[in-house]
Symmetry: C2
Subunit: 163 residues, 2 copies
């Protein structure tokens, strides 16, 4: 049994699904991770709406599970991440959770919010019925994910569009 270390939500923080009002905080936090580019509040709202309306064939399971950790006193977004649930044929029409776009705000580093986020997204995926949760990471982050209970499983390969 793979042991996943339980991480408690620190005092003064909450963890919940992304809502439309999180626009500024989510865009700012994701910008630490990678290029976000020009995303208007309207576009953000449309994507959140889309994420909130996609369900899987087996009942009340969201396909997209975008989460934020917010600082209660200020309402600031401290961290964000997503787990996308894929419907397969293999493993008896099984489900696999893909963790994506994990980012922790620079002023919120060092509080184990990354581990909390991974813990929560993994829990959401497993409770939705996933037989496994996977993610791709930079080699320098392997130790962090091992502490979260993950193990190395393969190599990520990529091809980019020509722009």
């Amino acid at each position: 049994m793979t042991k996943m270390v339980e991480v408690r939500v620190p005092n003064g923080f909450s963890i919940r699904r992304i809502q439309k009002q999180d626009y500024e905080g989510v865009i700012k936090t994701l910008s630490i991770l990678t290029t976000v580019g020009a995303v208007t509040e309207k576009q953000f709202g449309s994507i959140v709406e889309y994420w909130d309306t996609q369900k899987l064939p087996k009942g009340d399971v969201y396909k997209y599970n975008p989460y934020v950790i917010v600082e209660d006193s200020t309402g600031k977004v401290a961290a964000t991440g997503n787990v996308i649930i894929e419907q397969k044929l293999i493993h008896e029409c099984g489900l696999v959770g893909h963790i994506e776009d994990i980012a922790v705000g620079s002023e919120f580093q060092g509080k184990k919010l990354g581990a909390l986020l991974i813990n929560k997204l993994t829990e959401v995926g497993l409770e939705s019925g996933c037989y496994k949760i996977i993610l791709d990471c930079d080699p320098k982050n392997v130790a962090f994910y091992e502490k979260c209970g993950f193990h190395t499983a393969g190599v990520e390969m990529q091809i980019k569009a020509n722009l």
Copy 2:
């Protein structure tokens, strides 16, 4: 620019989206890859229907793109694979294609059908607007995907459900 080698469809074969009648051939082919387990024809039909009805916010783009290569003279499924398109916020509300569940039937090995399938799924993903296509593979298959135009990009991490 990453050069993707064009692979032509060999004489006597066709490549197309999965249909309900592909039930036996797809289950048999996927069983080479991994555990498929008990999947009835009815369940298969429901999953295919689900895959055929999921679209992305931006217009006429399928979320799921399950393909088969079939042998024309016998109707046999020679190979199968999927590219799942994920809606992100980053990269200006960008799309990423995830290639999954690539399998070539044992009697159809050695005809470059795997490369053809990867080529087709990548093309479908890029034409749908993906800024990149990614997949996870066993280290022993890295050379194959490099020949298909992919490069190593990270480490796949995994956690399994307790059963």
